[in-house]
Symmetry: C2
Subunit: 221 residues, 2 copies
């Protein structure tokens, strides 16, 4: 039987998984709001981000409290410090989903996505949704194999991000400045979302193996 | 006389100040590289970011080691955990300076800054440089008054960021898609740089007063 202390440690992990669930719902709905120019859905994503922030604050408070009360060492200490880092990444992923929803709101009733770029942006949203689902599973099961899979999903995101710029700069598709701004921001937010998911997965690898994986390919600009 | 433990705690703060110095140098030089289309300077900023990352890694290792060996409580625990958070913000500020330098490199021998937008971007760079200088001083002196001043600098950055989009969208200045992409990214990177500086300052306020200041105005998208 686990003691209260180890139950509290386990509860940190449960809260992180719950954060991935909320962030996963946010990125799904923000993507749909962008793709369908759905204002109500966009507003719901923007409003829901407070719950992610609140969960992060509460998780951080419990982690800090465990550090103070239990004075953990070794693996337990690593688990708690890493939880603080993962909660920061997940909170930021929530912000990025909210940013995407804000772009949908800003352009409503128009769509922020030019028709010719739609399929690339839909693919980016699918990779983002896959990444956050895997992140939840990596945290819950401490699954190092799946954690390393996220690198490949992130490579795919980086590829799609470059592809998006190539399409945007295509001389035969003369986009306006407003479209260029929107698409640059949309691409950036999906790409950063993926980076934070990979960062969380790397931290799980660190927790399990004591070592960070080799750094991923450099973040694209 | 301070014991070895408190000297190690103080050394964490010294390393954070050193990080602000490196990041300040990076943002100054990245801004000049952008403004003067200076490839050599851009390359030097890109190369120098490894030193910021290395300093962060070393600081985090020492912070973790102090947690494990000293099992600190109360203020000392708060100082160490907050150091871990501040080092993450400062490392990210270094990344953002490097991103700006990469844009200068990408457009060389052209300038990434359209002449009509130059003065706004120069003002953004000046605010960024002021913010990072103040951040160093806030960490070194635990100066809550200056920490709260950073909010006003950040408001100025947000104002300049909005102004930049207004100018970019001006119907009488028809920018191309490539220019719109560059300017959107430049604006974003300066604005995020400022956000991270404010975040560091808030953490110092938290360390000194035990409370975070009211959240700043919502990050603009």
């Amino acid at each position: 039987m686990r003691d209260a202390y180890h139950e509290e440690l386990e509860a940190l992990s449960d809260s992180l998984v719950e954060m991935t669930r909320l962030v996963g719902s946010a990125i799904n709905r923000a993507s749909t709001a962008l793709q369908d120019a759905d204002l109500t859905l966009a507003e719901s994503v923007i409003a829901a981000d407070d719950a992610v922030d609140a969960l992060r604050d509460e998780l951080d408070r419990r982690a800090f409290d465990l550090l103070a009360r239990q004075q953990p060492v070794a693996t337990d200490l690593r688990t708690i410090v890493t939880s603080l880092r993962m909660s920061a990444d997940l909170e930021r992923m929530g912000d990025l989903a909210r940013h995407l929803a804000r772009i949908a709101r800003r352009r409503f009733p128009d769509s922020a996505i030019p028709p010719e770029l739609r399929s690339t942006i839909v693919e980016m949203s699918q990779v983002a949704e896959r990444l956050v689902a895997k992140t939840g599973s990596v945290i819950a099961k401490k699954d190092v194999v799946v954690a390393l899979e996220l690198e490949r999903d992130d490579d795919e995101m980086d590829h799609l991000h470059r592809e998006l710029f190539t399409q945007l700069l295509d001389k035969n598709s003369p986009y306006g400045v407003e479209q260029a701004i929107d698409v640059t921001q949309i691409g950036r937010f999906y790409e950063r979302f993926a980076d934070h998911a990979v960062s969380v997965a790397h931290r799980v690898v660190y927790l399990v193996t004591g070592q960070y994986p080799e750094p991923a390919a450099t973040e694209s600009v």
